[in-house]
Amino acid sequence: MDEGFLKEQQVMESDLNSETSHKSSVDFLMDWFRRRSIFVLAYGTGCGAIEMPPTFTSRYDAERLGIRGAATPRQADVIIVSGYCSYKTLRRIIRTYEQMANPKYILALGSCTVNGGMYWDSYNTIKRLEDYLPVDMYVNGCMPRPESILEGFMALQKEIGDGKISSWQKYEDNYAFYRKNQEAVLGQTVAPAYDADWYLYDGGL
């Protein structure tokens, strides 16, 4: 038989005996609740951030699906990397992602997070986000419209409900790999200085 067909068959069969079948009832219940309540960090990292306000306000109303904004990383479940991501932004995204509580998910928007997009030859922009952070769902387009973002969210919800996503676990298990890639572009000091300098010094607020 043809090799591609065999591989496809394998993929389909592996789906059947995935972890869903031997999930405890508590896990099942928790996944059900997680799926229905998604807090999105209010942090726009690129030009795609402009598509997020319409997604969350009256016109497209993501709240009817249980998706709503969260102001601080401590309370957020999802961080949206919306578009191109320069080194300087990547530092902040890594810091923010590491501050979020498990389980956490990353939704990546636009061509830029997939393969650099129109910034493919920029010296200051990373090309593949998944080298540095574990991405759960890509929404393609430049930029994706709110409809696409909602569809991405719904796909994410489905995966969460099935208990398939464990990217935060992947990040912890393969931390050496991610750290190596991060250090390759950001140098030894991956995260920005962690203090309230801007608040306490230099004139303050």
């Binding site: 309540s37 306000t57 709240e63 102001a71 601080t72 309370q75 509580a101 389980p103």
Partner: protein
């Protein structure tokens, strides 16, 4: 038997509180011409946060904050009788009167202030500062109104106050009711007095450093505390309730008013809200007090 009574009160307040919060989000969405979430959405959020894992620690004082707050909320609930002439659902109200309830309502915010202060998050501290400033302002008209009601009823017992109203106090003493209502909107954290948790300015205020189980606890206590405050207002001004149906529709009418009020107003700054609360409602309350003592009874 009292243990069973308390447990039933807590369970009722928990579920009704969460359904009211779901309704709040849904009705606000309808005001904004959205479909809005289901009425169980806040409950889902709370359970989800309970299932999150925390990896940080700020020391035990930080985690004591939400616990003190929840203690304050639950104790407040226990000392407020749901019905004015019923043995059940009266909780501990035989052991403490309105003064104790007013004191217990302050316990939560103060405990939370200590916890947030330890966390070291500048936005949390900022939110707490604003919260306490607002608290001192809103207490003034509320306490004047409550003292007037106590003097009218010649009693500090909540069940007695609720049962002794031939015409309900909201109609008999409208000025006191209006003054207390302004304070009540501020107590519920609604616009225009919602500067404490303003998400765009101070990143959800006092709660900005909490996550996981403690945020879930904060949400639960907020639901319970809201219901306790609603029941207190119904007892003091709307003639109390004789059964669950009456209690639910009276609290819901009050809650709907608060939602509608919050949905159409913008946000005051902290000094503005303090200014407003110690000027307008306080003056109304004092005039109401004079009327009540001069021509009352």
């Amino acid at each position: 038997m009292i243990i069973l009574d308390l447990a039933l009160m807590l369970i009722t307040a928990y579920f009704v509180g969460f359904i009211y919060y779901g309704l709040y989000r849904n009705i606000t969405a309808r005001f904004q011409r959205r479909i809005g979430p289901t009425i169980f959405q806040s409950f889902y959020d709370s359970i989800k946060f309970f299932g999150k894992k925390e990896a940080i620690s700020h020391g035990w004082m930080f985690y004591l904050g939400p616990i003190i707050m929840a203690t304050g909320a639950i104790m407040t609930l226990f000392f407020i009788p749901f019905f004015y002439q019923s043995e059940s659902f009266s909780g501990l109200s035989g052991y403490g009167n309105l003064f104790l309830v007013l004191y217990l309502m302050l316990l939560g915010p103060l405990g939370n202030a200590m916890g947030v202060g330890v966390g070291g998050n500048p936005f949390g501290v900022m939110g707490v500062t604003r919260g306490l400033t607002r608290l001192f302002a809103l207490e003034l008209p509320f306490y004047i109104a409550v003292v007037a009601i106590m003097s009218i009823s010649q009693s500090a017992d909540i069940a007695t106050i609720a049962g002794s109203q031939t015409t309900i106090n909201a109609f008999a003493h409208p000025l006191l009711f209006i003054a207390a209502l302004f304070s009540f909107v501020a107590m519920m954290g609604q616009s225009p007095f919602d500067v404490v948790g303003a998400p765009v300015e101070v990143y959800s205020g006092p709660a900005s450093e909490f996550s996981g189980k403690f945020l879930s606890l904060l949400m639960s206590q907020s639901a319970i505390f809201s219901f306790a405050k609603l029941v207190l207002m119904v007892n003091l001004f709307l003639g109390g309730a004789d059964g669950f149906f009456e209690l639910l529709w009276k609290t819901f009418v009050l809650f709907l008013f608060v939602i509608a009020f919050g949905a159409i107003y913008g946000r005051f700054k902290t000094p503005q809200s303090v200014d407003f609360l110690i000027k307008v409602p306080t003056v109304i309350a004092i005039v109401g007090l004079i009327f009540a003592t001069a021509w009352g009874n």
